[in-house]
């Protein structure tokens, strides 16, 4: 019964991971990371149901709080670099190499 949810969460995680690798806009990359975190939440809640304990559901709340904190930091950093470069593309940020 819970297998479907686990498959869905794995799919969401994979979509997020591929998105991080192929998308070029820092905001979209960051949204893909958030998608991965939400896929984790789905997995936690499903496993909590499967094991019949509440740990997984409580962890999901912690993950939401951490994700919110990450959004604050992440958007601050991305807005900072956008204001400097007039672009949020991760390809344009290429000064540091080799």
């Amino acid at each position: 019964m819970t297998t479907h949810y686990l498959v869905l969460s794995a799919l969401l995680f994979a979509i997020g991971a591929v998105g991080v690798l192929v998308r070029r806009n820092a905001i979209v990359v960051f949204m893909c990371v958030e998608l991965m975190l939400n896929a984790c939440n789905l997995a936690f809640v499903t496993f909590a149901r499967q094991h019949g304990n509440l740990d997984g559901q409580i962890i999901a709340f912690f993950v939401m709080v951490v994700a919110a904190a990450e959004v604050v930091i992440g958007l601050a950093i991305i807005v900072m670099i956008f204001r400097t470069r007039r672009s949020a593309s991760v390809d344009d940020a290429n000064l540091l190499k080799y």
């Binding site: 686990l6 969460s9 995680f13 997020g16 991971a17 991080v20 820092a26 990359v29 960051f30 990371v33 991965m36 975190l37 896929a39 984790c40 997995a43 936690f44 499903t46 496993f47 499967q50 094991h51 304990n53 509440l54 740990d55 997984g56 962890i59 912690f62 993950v63 951490v66 904190a69 990450e70 930091i73 992440g74 601050a76 950093i77 991305i78 900072m80 670099i81 204001r83 400097t84 470069r85 991760v90 940020a93 290429n94 000064l95 540091l96 190499k97 080799y98």
Partner: protein
């Protein structure tokens, strides 16, 4: 679980006091930012930060003297045991030294919100603004490190990982000069860090699905009792490994390290290169030894590959670098690989004790040397700030023999020459790896040490046997803070290299009871 009465959890405040002190001071720092007038802030922050770190260090020592607890604190969430206390002590001393370095000079941007090169920025500089949020951010990060190394529960470990990392992402973007590089480092570190922590979290979800709990002890007992769910545990272990090895900068996940180390303000680089590595190894040991200790036959082969790749990639790519901070970053990657050979050397209890004590000693020795090396980097400057390019360092030994001599000494310690701390550290880790049956790893380690020694010596030759450039960099007159940092780091490197016994004994003692579960 479903009972109607809820028992209040017991929390051992005395055992957790080092962390509580650091977090408390960080929160006071935020209040200072909110309420104190701008001109007063720095003079409040610096003593507050230093006092908090000293206080936390003293309480750590007191806890250690009172005898180690045998059960994990805070309802099994935080393990305050020998290794934790040793790692806390090392992190707190290193953070103290880094605070002196951070405080010392205006390395931080006047106003982070002002666009580089804009009128706003000029105005902020003219008014003498300073981004004093650096201090509370650093304290939050240090608090996260303390918790990260002592967490006995994957959830606490994840939260600690984020508390440690989020302030660092911001700190990376606050360099005063070369702000484009700094901002780029910040974006790269943030996106890759968030990506890797998502992997850690999914790994945690799968391990929870396997064991029904995220408690490290429950996971370790589940490994021998739960059957038929092997794929969950296997994939979960791999993903937890990705998240943790990213923080160490082990080889397939090392790409961020040179970029971030180069772009970040050098004082922050020193903090990351020393304390974060220490904390991350504490967490790696806890996950792989405590939770997955009974599963070693499955993770060891992969870890072998990672360790070999890390040592080789770190040593070989360092040769091709032309920037001093990037070179030190690759050297730090290689050292991460040497430390991983100790993580692999798990076996009998006696074997574990030897390996753990070796790793603890290595972390202490490497931490001091690396802070010293980055402190020297802050002092070699030209018009645009620090002179990062290696060609600018040519002939430094003729202009400033003392500084170049100390830097050469740090490099020799990285290379592991006898009479420096690096020698005993490497010897201890490799000896533990040999007795753990990882002889091929030690051979790879010795070869990559030799390769690494080549580029350390190349820098020394460049400093002492090349003609200085006519418009070469100036040596900033050493201020009290920076010279104290360099002196402390050099002293620690000498002492750990000549009389390592007291610290070795301390590490042995910390490792004697291994981790509590």
């Amino acid at each position: 679980m479903n009972g109607t009465t809820i028992q209040a959890p017991t929390i051992e405040y005395a055992l957790l006091s080092p962390m509580l002190l650091v977090f408390g001071a960080a929160i006071i720092g935020v209040l200072v930012e909110a309420f104190a007038p701008r001109y007063l802030r720095k003079s409040i922050h610096v003593p507050l930060t230093l006092l908090a770190l000293v206080g936390a260090f003293v309480t750590t020592i007191l806890t250690a003297l009172n005898g180690l607890p045998t059960v994990a604190a805070a309802m099994g969430a935080v393990a305050v045991d020998g290794p934790s206390l040793f790692i806390w002590g090392v992190i707190l001393i290193l953070a103290f030294i880094c605070t002196l370095l951070i405080n010392d000079d205006d390395q931080f941007v006047a106003q982070a919100a002002a666009v580089p090169g804009s009128v706003d920025e000029e105005e902020a500089v003219r008014h003498g603004y300073a981004q004093t949020e650096v201090y509370p951010l650093m304290l939050f990060s240090v608090g996260g490190m303390l918790l990260f190394a002592a967490s006995n529960d994957l959830l606490v470990m994840f939260v600690a990982l984020e508390v440690m990392s989020l302030p660092l992402y911001l700190l990376c973007g606050l360099a005063r000069r070369r702000r484009l590089l700094s901002q780029e480092a910040s974006v790269k570190y943030f996106l890759l860090g968030a990506f890797s922590s998502a992997f850690f979290l999914y790994g945690m979800a799968l391990v929870y699905g396997y064991a029904g709990s995220v408690d490290l002890k429950t996971i370790s007992t589940a490994i021998s009792s739960v059957s038929g769910q092997e794929p969950l545990l296997l994939i979960g272990t791999a993903m937890l490994g990705v998240g943790l090895l990213f923080k160490i900068g082990a080889a397939p996940f090392q790409a961020w390290k040179p970029d971030v180390y180069q772009g970040a303000p050098t004082a922050v680089t020193a903090l990351m290169a020393s304390t974060v590595l220490v904390a991350a190894f504490g967490a790696v040991l806890r996950v792989f030894w405590v939770a997955l200790g009974g599963y070693e036959w499955n993770w060891q082969p992969l870890m072998w590959g990672v360790a070999i790749l890390t040592m080789i990639v770190g040593a070989i790519l360092a040769i091709t670098q032309t920037d001093i901070k990037r070179m030190l970053a690759y050297s730090s990657i290689a050292h991460g690989g040497f430390l991983l050979t100790g993580v692999i050397a798990i076996g009998t209890i006696k074997q574990d004790q030897q390996a753990l004590s070796a790793i603890l000693f290595y972390l202490a020795a490497y931490g001091f040397t690396t802070v010293g090396a980055f402190a020297v980097v802050t002092m070699v400057r030209d018009a645009g700030g620090e002179a990062g390019h290696l060609s600018r360092w040519a002939g430094l030994g003729k202009r400033s023999p003392v500084l170049a001599g100390i830097f050469a000494f740090f490099l020799l310690a990285f290379a592991g020459i006898p009479l420096t701390s690096g020698f005993f550290a490497k010897y201890a880790v490799f000896a533990a790896a040999i007795s753990g049956g990882a002889l091929p790893l030690v051979i790879v380690g010795a070869v990559s040490s030799a390769i690494a020694a080549f580029f350390y010596v190349r820098v020394i030759v460049l400093m002492f046997f090349s003609e200085p450039a006519a418009d070469g960099p100036t040596i900033a007159a050493p201020t009290v803070g920076t010279s104290a940092v360099v002196a402390l780091a050099a002293a620690a490197t000498v002492v750990l290299g000549v009389f390592p016994q007291p610290v070795l004994d301390l590490a042995d003692q910390a490792a004697s009871a291994l981790f509590i579960r």
